[in-house]
């Protein structure tokens, strides 16, 4: 019976979302304060109802209620407890419910933490979020109900897809959704500003911490996905330019442009319309991503056979959101205030470079992702776009970004002089060149592009760190502002990421071998000795477990135990790689397939991956920078009055 309660909570949440979308919006136009005050209650009630619904679905998984179709499809009586909980969001219906739950949490957070915003503006923000929620709840209720019963009830469940029986799955989707969905807040702020014909640029300052938090979550969500793919898919890749990866990457690219253009708009008033457009685009791309993933129109490792009505529903929803917001933008944006001008060389210029490149990158990824759909639609054949397309574009477009990043840090708003900037960045630049050259001499195999990548990474790191050091050592400045620390942390993360990426892409050694028990193989100074396999029983699988001794010279470094699992219920085979991680290198072993009848000879993957951890380490830095920037006290001060402009800049009235 309880499952029906879940369904009822969903319906109640839909009604609440309708109230949230309607009353505060009407109130904001008629000046009815009681209507506007509904927004807080409705936001909180909606969040509570969705927690109830989500809790009920989770409990159905925990008690193994196989009379619920979704549970029967994605769980099994042998499934360990931890995975029973994460199985809730392992497939379509449950992950949409998670999406909606996270949206309601964001809405509740906005309701709770934005009490100091002007009432009219705040009501509109929450009402817009209410409408987004209405759309998603309708989607869930009409096409993807997780509470559907199975009559007669199943005796045993089909089991969770073994790929998803993993820690990575427990954390990856919620974090990714926190980012995806979080951009809805920036979107709602932008729409509310457009509705009000907002003359001041205060809305940008109000929406900045929300955008930063969403962006930081998205950063770590994407990085976790990449890490999961690396150890779970069993062939050591960390990024595939798969359409579904691109779907999460596009909002990130636009989000990165957005947080930088918000800085310009907040501080200088320039780029006002552009910031609005980016805020609308970031969330629209999140929705497009959801459409691409959920409609199954694209071939991808994530694509599951799916129901076409779902695709059509999201497409309509996407049309309403994108079409509606762009129409509003076209009607209102020309009336919005324009900011102060700036010279050809100024901080604005550098942030403009950032915005241009990130917008172009997003457009390129969008093109590469949708092009196959377009070709298919016009009947010109079925194609796919290979990873080299994306790799080539990113390599080239990263050049201006990497060059400009450290100089931008030192530059002044409005106008700066070239000679001053050159004198500031001379030392970090020369040191970075030295670092790159030394690395290239030590490892000539990496080639020019990767050596340039290492140089660029060092340039970004050193340039950022020098700035902080100069601040600390200058006489009139004792403490470093939190915003500078946040920026430095994120930029250093970019440098670390770049160095990792450059080194791993050229120094990696990958070998596919036929190995029999007793065989040895030498790679990058390590000896991999295969001792053979034995049978191991897990909770819901049995596995052939290989044993490898890794040694360097006479010294044993570690033993690795890769597995080949057979999951009984679904009959799936799964590769569990074994990895010895390290700061400067990973050793990676995974079993391919048995090559003879008695299981003595195996196909084996043996990889040596230098500096691969730096890729995710960089992402962690970038995320931390985002959170630190959002935690800035500046955003929590009085929100209605205009902020005094920071020291060192000259205010220009618009």
């Amino acid at each position: 019976m309880t499952v029906e309660l879940g369904q009822i909570s969903l319906l109640a949440a839909l009604l609440t979302a309708l109230v949230l979308g309607l009353l505060p919006m009407i109130g904001s136009y008629t000046g009815n304060r009681r209507f506007m005050a509904v927004s807080t209650t409705a936001s909180l009630v909606q969040c509570l109802l969705l927690m109830v619904a989500f809790g009920i679905l989770t409990s159905a998984f925990i008690i193994q209620d196989f009379s619920v179709e979704y549970v029967a499809r994605n769980s099994n009586s042998l499934l360990p407890m931890g995975f029973r909980v994460s199985a809730v969001w392992s497939a379509h219906e449950g992950s949409l419910l998670l999406w909606e739950l996270i949206l309601s949490i964001w809405i509740a957070a906005v309701a709770l933490f934005s009490k100091r915003l002007p009432e009219v503006f705040r009501s509109r923000v929450l009402a817009v979020l209410g409408w987004i929620s209405v759309g998603f709840l309708l989607f869930i209720l009409l096409t993807s109900n997780p509470f559907g019963r199975l009559i007669p009830s199943a005796v045993e469940g089909l089991d969770l897809n073994p790929l998803l029986q993993d820690f990575g799955l427990i954390v990856h989707p919620p974090l990714l959704y926190m980012g995806y969905v979080g951009f809805s807040v920036a979107f709602a702020f932008a729409v509310a500003a457009l509705l009000g014909g907002e003359v001041s640029r205060d809305w940008v300052r109000w929406s900045r911490p929300w955008t930063l938090v969403a962006w930081a979550f998205l950063t770590i969500g994407i990085a976790l996905g990449s890490w999961w793919a690396y150890y779970e898919l069993g062939w050591g890749g960390y990024w595939f330019w798969d359409p579904v990866e691109n779907a999460s990457f596009m909002p990130w690219l636009v989000g990165t442009a957005l947080i930088h253009s918000q800085a310009v708009t907040e501080k200088r008033g320039a780029f006002g319309n552009w910031t609005l457009l980016l805020a609308l685009s970031a969330f629209s791309l999140s929705l497009l991503g959801t459409f691409l993933v959920r409609s199954g129109v694209l071939t991808s490792v994530h694509a599951f056979a799916s129901d076409p009505t779902r695709g059509i529903f999201i497409l309509v929803y996407l049309g309403v959101v994108v079409g509606g917001s762009l129409t509003l933008y076209a009607a209102r944006a020309p009336k919005m205030i324009q900011g102060g001008g700036f010279a050809g060389l100024s901080r604005e210029t550098f942030l403009l470079i950032n915005n241009l490149v990130f917008a172009v990158l997003a457009a390129m990824v969008l093109t590469g992702t949708l092009y196959p759909l377009l070709i298919d639609a016009i009947g010109a054949g079925k194609i796919s776009v290979g990873p080299p397309y994306f790799g080539l574009l990113f390599t080239w477009l990263l050049v201006p970004i990497v060059l400009a990043m450290p100089i931008g840090i030192y530059s002044r708003w409005q106008q700066d002089s070239g000679s001053r900037l050159i004198s500031k960045v001379r030392w970090p630049f020369l040191m970075a060149l030295a670092v790159g050259t030394i690395v290239w001499i030590m490892q000539p195999d990496i080639g020019f592009v990767s050596a340039a990548g290492v140089t660029g990474g060092a340039w970004v790191i050193l340039g950022s760190l020098f700035y902080v050091v100069q601040m600390m050592t200058s006489k009139n400045r004792i403490s470093i502002p939190a915003s500078v620390l946040a920026m430095t942390l994120a930029h250093v993360g970019v440098g670390v990421f770049l160095i990792g990426l450059s080194l791993v892409s050229t120094l990696s050694t990958e070998k596919h071998l036929r190995m029999e028990a007793g065989d040895k193989y030498e790679m990058a100074g390590y000896t991999f000795e295969f001792l053979g396999t034995s049978i191991v029983q897990g909770a819901n699988y049995s596995a052939d477990q290989g044993e490898f001794i890794i040694s360097k010279g006479d010294r044993e470094i570690t033993r690795l135990y890769p597995q080949k699992r057979e999951y009984a219920q679904r009959g799936n085979t799964m590769t569990e790689a074994a990895i010895d991680p390290g700061f400067t290198r990973d050793l990676y072993v995974s079993l391919g397939e048995p090559l003879d009848q008695n299981g003595q000879a195996w196909a084996v993957r043996v990889y040596h991956k230098p500096f691969i951890r730096w890729i995710w380490l960089g992402a962690i830095f970038i995320m931390a920078g985002g959170f630190l920037a959002a935690a800035n006290k500046r955003y929590r001060r009085k929100m209605t009055a205009k902020e005094p402009v920071l020291t060192g800049t000259k205010e220009v009235t618009a």
Binding site: A305, T367, S384, L393, W396, R570
Partner: protein, 147 residues
């Protein structure tokens, strides 16, 4: 023209030229990295040139998989019912590679008419059929019952 206007004009021009160059590079890269999906029947009918990369999709014919005893080399037959292509591959096949299962192989034809695969993909869900393969099978009249 006032200096401000002139500066703006230059700025706009730089942006337009930059975006233009990027677009040209992108289209070129896109065309070079486009892989067509081809079914075994297409291979037979279209007389494809050797050495051009494409994606071959179909079912692995039952009983056709043959492994070398001393290396990772493997040969198998990919079929869509009426037509079939011999595939050679040197490497590790994916977990879900089975006889009778839909797969996609990326590679090129050799002058002797074999398909030399550089990569073999099978999907992660055993019920799942790559959409292109399902389409191709339907077209060739060899409809498999897919869930």
């Amino acid at each position: 023209m006032t200096p401000t206007r002139k500066r703006r004009l230059i700025g706009v021009l730089v942006i337009v030229i930059g975006v233009g160059i990027a677009a040209v590079v992108a289209i070129k890269a896109l065309n070079e990295n486009m892989l067509f999906f081809v079914s075994p029947s297409d291979v037979k009918e279209q007389n494809l040139p050797a050495g051009k990369r494409f994606r071959l999709g179909g079912l692995v014919e039952n009983g056709s998989v043959n492994r070398a005893s001393d290396s990772l080399a493997v040969v198998f037959v990919v079929t869509d019912g009426p037509n079939a292509v011999d595939v050679r591959f040197d490497g590790i096949l994916p977990d879900l590679f089975r006889e009778g299962q839909g797969i996609i192989a990326i590679g090129e034809l050799t002058p002797d008419g074999h398909f030399e695969a550089a990569e073999v993909l099978a999907k992660h869900d055993e019920n799942y059929m790559p959409p292109e393969v399902a389409d191709a099978l339907e077209k060739s009249g060899h409809v498999e019952k897919a869930e």
